[in-house]
């Protein structure tokens, strides 16, 4: 194992992933993986296709159940919790393809993600009060959709859909956001705005990002974790991993 933080298990990390393994019919998509995320950190996970990046996010948010290992968030063990409980604990997840409610307006999309009235009867009794409206407007401004609140989400551009989904996470006020390829399919100017948005987000959130766009990674990452065949290949600053011979081997060697 190539760990850069071997002896720091007891330190107060926001997220500690240790010995995480998931096996699909014998194939270990993630194999004895460990890494740690600090508060207010932007961690980027990179790696070739099939390295297990998305599976790691699936494991953290409860979509996939781990075969072995532990995921500790604050003092909660996420591997034993159900998806919505993990959300309540403060973990938000954005999917690779924009996953929004196309038949509803931008306002309604954000409103449904507002963390109140999450039970059956809470949802029936939910009132759209001033607090909800002001919070939705605040988030909409952050994600550059202030003027589209009444727009049906289906007709937004691809980039705007990505932002809307990020906004739907932000309104939940999670401590940890996980974004799967947030700039995929975006124009250059949209990428710049997204980087700007992420810089604003980390002022009070930690973020894990999966991304292929190296220029974007360089722009935002505090630390980079390189995955290969379900394991951590290298970890450190962008500069460090870029010059790591093992990384160069994996990316260029074949």
């Amino acid at each position: 194992m190539q760990q850069t933080n071997p002896a720091s298990t007891s330190k107060d990390f926001l997220l500690s992933v240790e010995g995480l393994t998931v096996s699909f019919d014998g194939f270990k998509a993630v194999n004895d993986l460990s890494f740690y995320v600090d508060e207010n950190e932007i961690r980027v996970i990179i790696g070739p296709n099939g390295a297990g990046k998305t599976t790691v996010l699936d494991l953290i948010c409860g979509r996939t159940k781990a075969t072995a290992g532990s995921i500790r968030f604050r003092d909660k063990e996420l591997t034993r919790m159900r998806e919505h409980e993990i959300v309540h604990a403060g973990v938000g997840r954005k999917f690779q393809n924009p996953s929004i409610y196309e038949d509803l307006t931008v306002f309604e999309n954000l409103e449904l993600s507002f963390p109140r009235g999450r039970g059956v009867f809470g949802a029936l009794a939910f009132k759209r009060d001033a607090e909800v409206v002001s919070r939705v407007e605040e988030i909409a401004e952050m994600i550059f959709l202030k003027n589209q609140l009444k727009t049906e989400a289906a007709i937004l551009s691809h980039g705007q859909k990505q932002w809307l989904e990020i906004g739907m996470l932000l309104i939940q006020s999670p401590e940890l956001l996980m974004l799967d390829e947030p700039v995929a399919g975006m124009s250059v100017s949209e990428r710049v705005k997204t980087a700007e948005l992420l810089h604003r987000i980390i002022q009070d959130h930690s973020v894990i990002v999966i991304e292929h766009d190296m220029k974007f990674v360089q722009d935002i990452a505090h630390r980079v974790t390189v995955m290969h065949q379900g394991k951590v290949l290298s970890e450190g600053s962008m500069d460090h991993v870029q010059h790591d011979p093992k990384v160069i081997e994996v990316y260029l060697g074949h």
Binding site: R63, D103, E108, L112, A123, L124
Partner: protein
Amino acid sequence: MNTTLYTRREWIALAIVAALILIVFPVTMDVFRLNLVGKYLTYAFVAVGLVLCWGHGGILSLGQGIFFGLGGYCMAMFLKLEASSPENTAIQSTPGIPDFMDWNQVTELPFWWVPFKSFPFAAAAVILVPVVFAYVIGAAMFKRRVGGVYFAIITQAIAAILTILIIGQQGYTGGVNGITDLRTLLGWDIRTDSAKFILYFVNAVLLIAVLVLGQMVRMSKFGRLLIAMRDKEDRVRFSGYSVADFKIFIFCLAAAFSAIGGAMFTLQVGFMSPSFVGIVPSIEMVIFAAVGGRLSLFGAVYGALIVNWAKTSFSETFPELWLFAMGGLFIAVVMAFPNGLAGLYRSHVEPFLAKLTRKSPPSPAPDTAPVEAVKLAAE
């Protein structure tokens, strides 16, 4: 968000439905026809439940007859016990039990029939038995994430099983004939014209209450969550909602609506039989909702009325062709106008009406368009 316009339009639609079933029908029809319409309207309860559960929530149940039947049977059991007083059944070998039990050599009232001697118990059971049953089905299916076509097939299988069970246990359920010869409700003869007239109004008022309740659910955040679940179930789950709980709730609510319809059917028609429980009636109920428009609560009422009216008139002339006509109708609706009558109304009649009523240049404010129109556009 401008929801006032949306609300106002919906209330006008409700007022029209109310005027139709509370005033127009009673004024223009004789008691026989009115009773027939009352019977059709009991199916509207099921269709309204399906609009919420299927149209909005995306949960297609092909077994709503289960709940219609259970509600109907709970009511029929009470009425049958009242009709089977020892004096009325003196000629039986065991007086005081329902006639079909006597014919099947049952000599004692089964223990689970006994509580149905009490009207409050029976009235509560009309709702609770189907809801508990729906909860069990829903919890078993939705917690395991069974959905879509698998769920539809399972509900259909349960409807078939329940029918077989009712027919097979003739001595306890009345078998294929069902529970017949119902006479009085707490001493009030339900077979008279005046009783039929009153029951029609009870039924109509209950239906309006169910429509209002359904509308309130639809307008709440719960209603928007249903649509969200239908389109992006995972996103709802990862926004912190327990999707299974929401599905179970709406399925139970649809079951409760169906059960009220079933109980009112028994009261108005005077019997309940397995032919209202099984696969064919359950699919017919889905067709009522589809024809009316699966996203429109009020459309469900019109759908139930029109399809049943067509069924009655058509099957009088060509009895053997009706099932084919029904199948054809369903295919036509799904292929040609998937949003049913309500969809046709919105896309054709409404713009025409708007043109008539609006003298000033029309100001098409798309941002105030109801969610419904938005959905239509998206499909």
